[in-house]
Amino acid sequence: MEYQKKELPDKVKNAGFLFAGIGMLLIAVSYILDPRREAFNNIIGLTFFASIAIGALALVALEYISGAVWSVPFRRVSEFIASSLPLVLVFAIPLFLMLGMLFHWTHPEVVTADKLLSGKSPYLNIPFFIGRTIGVILVLYVFYALFTRNSRKQDESKEQGLTRTNVKLSAAFMPVAGIGLTLLSIDWIMSLEPHWYSTIFGVYYISATLLAGLAATTYASVSLNEAGYLIPGVNKDHYYSLGALMFAITNFWAYIAFSQFLLIWYANIPEESIWFVMRWEGGWKYISIILIFVRFVIPYAGLLSQPSKSDPKRLKQISIFILIAHFFDLYWLIMPTFSKTVVFSFYELGFPLFVVGIVILAFYYQTKKHNLVAVGDPKLQRGLDFHL
């Protein structure tokens, strides 16, 4: 275990600043030109960012709770990506000021005139809404802080008990993260159409979240390992496991998405199917069909064969593609509420670029402070010896 801490090159930092800078510029211009549209994009940005950070954190907890060894050599990559979690609240602050522009349940006169909305008002009201978002992010951040504190302590002390503590923590984390992600998705995406509901919606967002966190981790791990920043010993078998997990979660997303669609399509109850009708009329039909290919068919075909799952070039391409597809999925979920017809221009590009920049910068500054490999983890040697 001859790990030597190396500084990441400045180009990583520059890329981060470049992405964040262009994104920031586009966001500023867009907010001046069309605040309402950019606020909807802000929701896409918020949910996109939250899913990358929380997905990476969930992977860390998943490794602890399942006792996996193969992912130990690059667990820190997930931890560093998850370090950007509190910044999700920064994305939410402008939205808290503009809730009235986005959610029509925020208007008291609408709620009193509407029987359904007044029935939902104990849940859907502004103070509780803001409290839920802040609460979920903070609680998950506490878990992040505990996981990483124990892991960093272990770098020095090599104490095995800290892993056991983290296993117990991850058992508590799982239900909390499940409920938290469900609340986030219901609040920010589903309540845009407060009359519509789908009981599987939380799982839909959870599957997308795991996939986003995993794609970011995969891209960073494969790139860092190829450039020699990780500990020697990470090989094709590790790559294969990453690819297979991405493949599995891609299928899981398709399964959940189709389950949601099939039941609503079959029952054909107007208040439920209106949601899909909105995504079928005014040109949204093409976006919906493209989504099936972008989110499922292309990643599925790209990762189907055995060699492709361990090919680093393919993995990097597919993980970037999955992140783009995740953004596209959120765009498909959120924007039909804003516009009856398809709209896509530079307004939509600001937030994804900004999020990517922020994640890269958070990652970069974490690598300055901490080891990129959990050198004290008792499972590290077994993780390096991992063979399929």
Binding site: F261, L262, W265
Partner: protein
């Protein structure tokens, strides 16, 4: 060193038998992995390793090329998907179209779950079947290694390596020497089993088929005729609801079946438009349908169904009911032949003497078609010479 199994076969047999392979047993996964590496180094290409569980790193130790079985799975899976999808298309669009839930006949989202299941099932079962067929070399139903001491151990507690005789470097003594050098114990020679011809008409086999057929038939009979009429399977049939055509105490008249509300009109049914009007109005109607082959064919079909039981197939009044009803008069009398079409229509619709109204059973257009057919019957029994001439 020959084991008990080989010795049991006897020297004379061994001389005549073809060697399949020579194998040896190892005690640890590490030693079998080393042995596989050495076998590659020796230059053997046709050798196999048998272990009780997958040993990590064995594929690279044996220098195995990636298996092509994945392509077989892909092919069978896609065939299964295509079959399931096309079968459902054929059933619900071509052969027996039913409107379900107001959806179009070709409702592909409803096909997706079944297509998925059939894909997975056919891919899994097909892959196993292909692997067994290749491994046993179809149509053989066993492998030379079956039922040996070697197989007993490699499927429970030890690790085996065997060099197959088709290897170009195969030499009995050299392989034995190699195995003992690499640390194998219980080295054994495996012979190709004698392939006995499969006897289809073996009494035991026929007996087995008969027993299977009887059991299957018995279980099917019991299930369909007895089991389904026992609770809990009858719970779906016996429900708290009014059954048509059975007594029910809920209504004062004791009938379960209710009459529709006054003025109800069934879908596709046209009420009798001359109800309550004097008969003369109806008698003066003329047949609105054209006199064509399709209409006459339709009329014949309806006549044979509804009219022929009493009037006979040719309208002669020779009932098919053998006098259980009074026979009606013939339709070929001068009186009926001279009736206008409207009069026959009036009789079918309202009934006459013993004949009831066919208002409810025969639709309006079918009644007019029957009248055309009656005219055909009448003319056929009273043909004139001019009819023959026009036929020329």
């Amino acid at each position: 060193m020959l084991t008990e199994h080989s010795r049991r076969i006897g020297e004379a047999d061994i001389m005549n038998k073809k060697i399949y392979s020579i194998g040896g047993l190892f005690d640890t996964p590490d030693s079998i992995t080393r042995a596989a590496e050495e076998a590659v180094k020796e230059g053997y290409t046709k050798f196999d390793v048998n272990t009780p569980y997958p040993v990590h790193g064995m594929e690279s130790a044996m220098k195995l090329k990636p298996s092509l079985i994945g392509l077989v799975t892909l092919f069978i899976g896609l065939s299964g998907a295509a079959f399931a999808f096309m079968f459902m298309y054929w059933v619900s669009v071509v052969d027996y179209p039913l409107i379900i839930g107001g959806k179009p006949f070709f409702s592909w989202p409803a096909f997706v779950p079944v297509t998925f299941e059939v894909t997975v099932l056919s891919a899994a079962v097909g892959t196993v079947a292909v692997m067994i067929a290749l491994f046993f070399k179809f149509p053989n139903n066993a492998h030379p290694l079956h039922d040996t001491n070697y197989m007993k151990h490699v499927s429970s507690d030890r690790f085996g390596l065997n060099v197959v005789a088709i290897d170009p470097l195969f030499d009995e003594s050299k392989v034995k020497d190699f195995l003992s050098r690499s640390g194998a114990k219980d080295i054994e020679i495996f012979y190709e089993p004698e392939r006995k011809p499969i006897r289809v008409f073996d009494p035991k086999f026929i007996g087995l088929l008969v027993v299977i057929a009887m059991v299957t038939a018995g279980v099917t009979y019991f299930t369909l005729n007895k089991l389904l009429y026992m609770p809990p399977f009858t719970w779906m049939a016996e429900q708290d609801r009014l059954s048509s055509q059975s007594q029910n105490a809920m209504f004062t008249d004791g009938f379960g079946m209710r009459n529709p509300v006054e003025g109800t009109v069934a879908r596709g049914f046209t009420p009798y438009e001359f109800k309550g009007q004097p008969d003369s109005v109806v008698r003066n109607l003329s047949n609105p349908l054209p006199f064509s082959k399709e209409v006459v064919d339709r009329g014949k079909m309806r006549f044979d169904t509804y009219c022929s039981p009493c009037h006979g197939y040719f309208g002669k009044g020779d009932s098919r009911l053998n006098g259980q009803f009074p026979n009606p008069p013939t339709l070929h009398s001068d009186k009926v032949r001279n009736w206008p079409d409207g009069n026959i229509y009036h009789v079918i619709t309202n009934g006459q003497n013993v004949m009831p109204s066919y208002d409810k059973q025969i639709t309006r257009d079918d009644r007019w078609a029957i009248i055309h057919y009656i005219r055909v019957l009448q003319r056929s029994l009273n043909a004139k010479d001019t009819d023959l001439e026009t036929k020329k």
